[in-house]
C-alpha cells in the first residue's frame, strides 16, 4: 500500500527535522561566538552563571561553555587535537603548572600582541598589584588570573573543640600546629592530619623553609638544604603517625565524613567540602615554618586566548573585560577562588583565611619549563610520593628528583 506525501507535509517534516540544527545558530544571530573550554561541572556552577550574565548583556559576543574534562590535562589533550584540526578553543582555563606548555606548544596568545599593550595594561590593572606579576609566564602576559587559590588548612571544628583545643586558635607555624593535631588525635581517636601528596602542597613547605623548586632561571633546585628542611617538616607528621598517607579523593572523602581532624589542601575546594561536611568547618591560613618568613604559593588556573581569528580575539577581550568587573567576580567568588581584583567585594564567609594569606603575598605555582616540562612534573611528584611513603630519605629523594628533572628540562 502506498500513501502519497503532500508537498505541505513534506515541507513541515523537513522543517521539523532541520529545526534542532538551525535554531541554535539562528538564536546566535550575527554574534561573534567565543567558546570557553573549562573543567567545571554542573549546570549551576558559577562559570555557567558568569557566562549567562555576560550573554544577557547582548554585547554582540556570545560565549559558549564547553566542559571538555575535569582536569587541566584532560582538556589540554582535547584542545591539542582541536587546535591541530584548526578548530581550537577561543578561550581555555589553563593550569598554572601548564603555563610554559601552553605558551610554547599550544600557542596561547601574548595579550600584548593581540590586544595591544595599552588594553592589556588596562585589563591587568584591575588585578591587585601583588597578583599582576603572576599573570605572566616567562615575562609574557598570556592569561587572565581569574581563578587563584592557595593552600589552607581545613579544620573539623567539632573534633577540634571536642579535643579541648582553643576554638579560635590559629597556629601560624607547623611547630605550633603539630602538637595541636596530636592532642586532637589522642583525645578523639580520629586521624589528626592529612596532606595532599603532590608537587603543589610540598612546594609551600620548600618555599617556607627558604628554598625553591625551580629558580628564577629555570634551574631545578629542589634539593637545596633549605628545600630538604622544608620537606623534612612536610613528612614529620607521617613519621609521628599523625598523618596516614592517602590519595586526594580518599582524603576528601574521609575528611568530609568527619574522620580527619585537619586537612591541608587548596582553598578552592572550600565550597565542595562545606556542602558535603556535616560538622562545623573552619579554615585557617597554611602555617609556615618557625624562624622563616612566610612564602606561600598560589595555584589554580588562568584564562588564555588560543584563537587566532581577530574577531574571536576581540570577542574574548570583551568577555575578559567583563570577568574583571565587580558583577562577574561577585558570582565567581562562590567557587572559593580568591578575589584577586581591585573590586571592593565583601569577603565571603569561609574565605577569610585564604584572602588574608593572599594579602600577605603569594608566589606563583611552579611552572615546569621546557619541551618535557610535563614529564618533569610527573617525575618530581613520583619522588615526593616516594619520600612521603618513606621509601627513600628526604635528601636522597630530592636529589633524585633534581637529577631527573635537570635532564628533562635540558632535553
Amino acid at each position: 500500500m502506498s500513501r502519497a506525501v503532500s508537498r505541505r507535509r513534506f515541507t513541515l517534516a523537513a522543517a521539523a527535522l532541520a529545526a534542532p540544527v538551525v535554531l541554535p545558530r539562528a538564536s546566535l544571530g550575527d554574534d561573534v561566538k567565543v567558546d570557553l573550554v573549562h573543567t567545571f561541572s554542573g549546570a549551576d556552577h558559577p562559570v555557567q552563571r558568569v557566562i549567562r550574565a555576560f550573554n544577557d548583556k547582548a554585547s554582540g559576543v556570545t560565549v559558549v561553555s564547553r566542559q571538555d574534562g575535569t582536569t587541566y590535562e584532560a582538556i589540554t589533550q582535547k584542545a591539542m587535537s582541536s587546535i591541530a584540526a584548526g578548530r581550537g578553543p577561543s578561550l581555555m582555563t589553563t593550569g598554572w603548572k601548564l603555563g610554559d606548555f601552553a605558551r610554547r606548544t599550544l600557542g596561547a596568545q601574548d595579550f600584548r600582541q593581540i590586544f595591544g599593550a595599552e588594553r592589556t595594561e588596562a585589563l591587568l590593572a584591575k588585578f591587585r598589584p601583588q597578583v599582576r606579576p603572576l599573570a605572566a609566564i616567562g615575562g609574557v602576559p598570556i592569561g587572565l588570573p581569574w581563578s587563584m587559590s592557595t593552600p589552607v588548612v581545613y579544620i573539623n571544628q567539632t573534633l577540634w573543640t571536642a579535643a579541648g583545643l582553643d576554638p579560635a586558635a590559629e597556629p601560624m607555624t607547623m611547630e605550633e600546629l603539630y602538637p595541636m593535631v596530636r592532642q586532637l588525635q589522642e583525645r578523639t581517636g580520629k586521624q589528626g592530619l592529612c596532606y595532599e601528596v603532590n608537587e603543589w602542597l610540598s612546594q609551600s613547605f620548600i618555599q617556607n623553609a627558604g628554598g625553591d623548586v625551580i629558580d628564577a632561571d629555570g634551574k631545578p633546585v629542589m634539593d637545596s638544604p633549605a628545600a630538604v628542611k622544608g620537606i623534612e617538616a612536610f613528612v614529620q607528621p607521617r613519621r609521628d603517625n599523625l598523618w596516614r598517607v592517602m590519595t586526594i579523593p580518599e582524603m576528601l572523602a574521609a575528611f568530609q565524613a568527619g574522620a580527619i581532624g585537619a586537612m591541608a589542601t587548596s582553598s578552592a575546594r572550600q565550597s565542595g567540602v562545606r556542602q558535603a561536611a556535616s560538622f562545623d568547618l573552619r579554615l585557617i591560613q597554611m602555617p609556615g615554618l618557625a624562624g622563616h618568613p612566610r612564602r606561600m604559593n598560589s595555584g589554580g588556573n588562568f584564562l588564555a586566548v588560543y584563537s587566532k581569528v581577530k574577531e574571536q580575539q576581540e570577542g574574548a577581550y570583551k568577555f575578559l573585560e567583563f570577568l574583571t568587573s565587580r558583577e562577574a567576580f561577585e558570582i565567581w567568588l562562590a567557587t572559593g577562588y580568591l578575589n584577586v581584583t581591585t573590586n571592593d567585594i565583601p569577603i565571603r564567609p569561609g574565605n577569610e583565611a585564604a584572602q588574608a594569606q593572599m594579602e600577605g603575598g603569594l608566589t606563583s605555582e611552579t611552572v615546569w619549563p621546557g619541551a618535557r616540562g610535563l614529564e618533569a612534573l610527573t617525575v618530581h611528584i613520583d619522588w615526593i610520593t616516594k619520600i612521603v611513603n618513606g621509601a627513600v630519605p628526604v635528601a636522597d629523594g630530592l636529589r633524585g628528583s633534581r637529577e631527573a628533572v635537570e635532564k628533562l628540562v635540558a632535553a
Binding site: 590535562e73 589533550q77 591539542m80 587535537s81 587546535i83 591541530a84 606548555f101 606548544t105 599550544l106 600557542g107 586521624q191 601528596v197 596516614r244 598517607v245 592517602m246 590519595t247 579523593p249 580518599e250 572523602a253 574521609a254 565524613a257 574522620a259 580527619i260 618535557r372 610535563l374 614529564e375 610527573t378 613520583d382 619522588w383 610520593t385 616516594k386 611513603n389 621509601a391
Partner: protein, 296 residues
C-alpha cells in the same frame, strides 16, 4: 543490468571491498603511521618532524619506568589469567548443575552484573570501600584485628587492589562464555558417562572440559587482551598508575607518554614495542595452546 556491472557483481572484491577498505583505513594505515612516527619527534600542532632514528626505542628500553610497567604487566597477567579463567570455569560448572531455574537465573544475573557496569561508576563504589580511614574493607579487616591498610596508596598493595577490582569487574564475561559452552554439551554424552559410573567431577573433567575447550581457548585469548588493554581503565580511575608507577602497566605507560607528556614519537615507539609483545604472546598461545583444543 549491464555486463560490466554483472561482472563486477560477481567479483569478490565487491563483497570484501568495504571490509578491506576499513581494515586499511583504521588498522593498517594507523599502524604504518605509528611505525613511521616512532622514528621522529613530532609536534601535533606545528606539524614539524625531527628525525630521531632509533633514539625513542633506545630511550624506552633504558627507561626504568618502562621496565616497571613491563614487570607489572607480567604480574597482572600472572595473577589475573588464572583468576579470570579458573574461577568462572568452576562457577560455570557449579551453576550448570543448579536445577532450580529461578535460583540459577538469580545467580547468573548477580555474577554477571559487575561486567555491565562502567568502570567510572564501579570505581566510585570501590574508592569508598578502599578508603583507608572510613572504608568498609578496613572496618571489616579491623574487626578481625588487622591494622588498617592503605589499599590504593601503599606501593605494595595498590597493584593488588587494581587486580581485585579488575577481577570483580571482568570475570562475568568468561562465566557467560563457559555457561553457553556447557549448555551446548550434548546431553547423551554426559548421560552415557553417568550410566558408565562417572561421578560429577569425572564428568566435568573428562567429558565436559574437553568438549568446551574451544570456549576455554577463546576465554584465555580474550582474557589476555583484557588484561593487557582494558585494565588501563581500572588503573586510571583507581590509582593513576601510582604510587610512583607501582600499579602502572605497559598501556598506561604509553598513555602517559602520549597524552600526559605529549611525547608522540616516544609513545609511538612504545606502541610498536607493545605490538611486538602482543604478537609474540598471541603466537605462543596458538602455537602451544591450540593443540589442546578439540573442535569435534
Amino acid at each position: 543490468m549491464t555486463l560490466a556491472w554483472r561482472r563486477l557483481g560477481q567479483s569478490p572484491w565487491l563483497f570484501a571491498g568495504p571490509a578491506v577498505a576499513a581494515a586499511i583505513a583504521f588498522v593498517w594505515l594507523p599502524m604504518v603511521s605509528t611505525l613511521a612516527l616512532s622514528f621522529f619527534d613530532w609536534s601535533l600542532l606545528r606539524h614539524e618532524a625531527t628525525w630521531r632514528g632509533l633514539d625513542h626505542y633506545r630511550g624506552t628500553l633504558a627507561n626504568p619506568d618502562f621496565h616497571l610497567a613491563l614487570a607489572n604487566t607480567g604480574l597482572y597477567l600472572a595473577a589475573l589469567l588464572p583468576l579470570q579463567v579458573g574461577v568462572p570455569l568452576v562457577l560455570a560448572f557449579a551453576l550448570a548443575r543448579v536445577r532450580a531455574k529461578t535460583a540459577g537465573r538469580l545467580y547468573r544475573t548477580a555474577l554477571f552484573a559487575p561486567s555491565v557496569l562502567s568502570f567510572p561508576v564501579a570505581a566510585v563504589v570501590w574508592l569508598w570501600l578502599f578508603n583507608p580511614t572510613v572504608g568498609f574493607l578496613n572496618t571489616l579487616t579491623g574487626s578481625l584485628g588487622v591494622p588498617p591498610q592503605r589499599w590504593l596508596s601503599d606501593p605494595d598493595l595498590a597493584i593488588w587492589s587494581v587486580i581485585a577490582v579488575t577481577f570483580w569487574k571482568s570475570f562475568g564475561l568468561n562465566l557467560l562464555i563457559f555457561l553457553a559452552a556447557l549448555a551446548n554439551v550434548p546431553a547423551d554424552v554426559t548421560e552415557a558417562a553417568r550410566i558408565d559410573g562417572a561421578g560429577p567431577f569425572r564428568q566435568a573433567v573428562d567429558i565436559e572440559l574437553p568438549l568446551i575447550s574451544p570456549a576455554l581457548f577463546f576465554a584465555v585469548v580474550t582474557t589476555i587482551i583484557i588484561v593487557l588493554d582494558e585494565i588501563v581503565g581500572a588503573v586510571d580511575v583507581l590509582t593513576e598508575g601510582g604510587p610512583y608507577r607501582t600499579s602502572s602497566n605497559l598501556l598506561y605507560f604509553l598513555y602517559e607518554r602520549g597524552f600526559r607528556h605529549f611525547q608522540f614519537g616516544e609513545a609511538a615507539a612504545v606502541a610498536m614495542l607493545i605490538a611486538v609483545l602482543v604478537a609474540g604472546v598471541t603466537w605462543a598461545q596458538f602455537r602451544f595452546g591450540e593443540r589442546h583444543v578439540h573442535y569435534d
